[in-house]
Point group: C2
Chain length 152, copies 2
DNA sequence: CCGTAACCTTACCTTAACGTAAGGTAAATG
DNA sequence: CATTTACCTTACGTTAAGGTAAGGTTACGG
């Protein structure tokens, strides 16, 4: 069965649905096979199978991008899973829609808080930076002045 | 030795340097004794001692606040330690000043990236929110219309 | 058709960041 | 003065997020 072949042939094709073997996806986004399988166990990804080999769709690719972003932001896999599930809502069921909306709003609020805290931290660090720059300037000019004053 | 007493007396006093026993600080900032001792082991805090009991100063309190903020932002204790160390610089040594500046700038850059990613995530989530709201409205009005149309 | 490269599962190992329990000292309180 | 109460250290347990190793199948290239 041409499995890897299919992926490679599709890799050259212009637009139509690219497919990835696990190694391809791992390489492209800089993660290990292990991580991908773990994310699958945790319900973050659900690649199709051919036989028992995983086939990742562009959709899986997109989800993985979100997963990695979530990780960089310090979220747990469980959190990330919840966030991904927000995009999975079934438009038929009003109750589910409402639940999704609620969770989504909570996430948004949390991220806004986080944003505030980052802003605060940045402000402090920048102030520190200014201070240190001043100290450096001062030290440097002292050294210069010292030489000049002693030999006017 | 009046140790806890001192803390309690100072707790009532208006401004002057409040002191905390471990339990006080833990309660006030919502962490456990264990966490405080761990942070100490990792070099994030360095309370004074009286005998072998820890005495936390307002400075320790402030540092702990920063630690907890760092945690909420998803940083490791090691990262947080590095950030705290930025505020500890000795103004005498030019080389150290320069190193501090460099590390500080790196931190700032990292936080700015993080900020971008949060902004992006927020944008996506808000778009999702709008979509879900629309779906809900649609479902609701469908239900209403259904009744009206069937009984004109 | 044979070897090697990519994939599979299972299972144990590791690190960070605590939780929790055990056993012991100091000290404020009835 | 006896007893809780707060604190101490030591040490083992736990959870999340993978790393790593072992052993086995599939598929592809020469």
């Amino acid at each position: 069965m041409a499995l890897r072949q299919v992926a490679e042939r599709q890799a050259e094709s212009p637009a139509p649905a690219r497919l990835y073997a696990i190694g391809d996806l791992a390489a492209e986004l800089g993660v290990t096979h292990r991580a991908l399988r773990l994310y699958e166990d945790q319900g973050l990804l659900a690649p199709r199978r051919i036989g028992n080999q995983r086939i990742y769709s562009p959709r899986d690719h997109a989800r993985l991008v979100l997963v990695l972003r979530g990780k960089r932001l310090g979220f747990s896999l469980a959190d990330i899973r919840e966030m991904l599930d927000l995009y999975e809502v079934d438009p038929q069921h009003l109750e589910q829609l409402r639940a999704t909306l609620k969770k989504g709003c909570a996430r948004i609020a949390a991220l806004e808080r986080q944003q505030q805290e980052i802003a605060l931290t940045l402000k402090e660090l920048r102030e520190g930076e200014r201070l240190v720059r001043d100290l450096i300037r001062q030290r440097e000019s002292e050294a210069g002045q010292g030489r000049k004053r002693r030999t006017p």
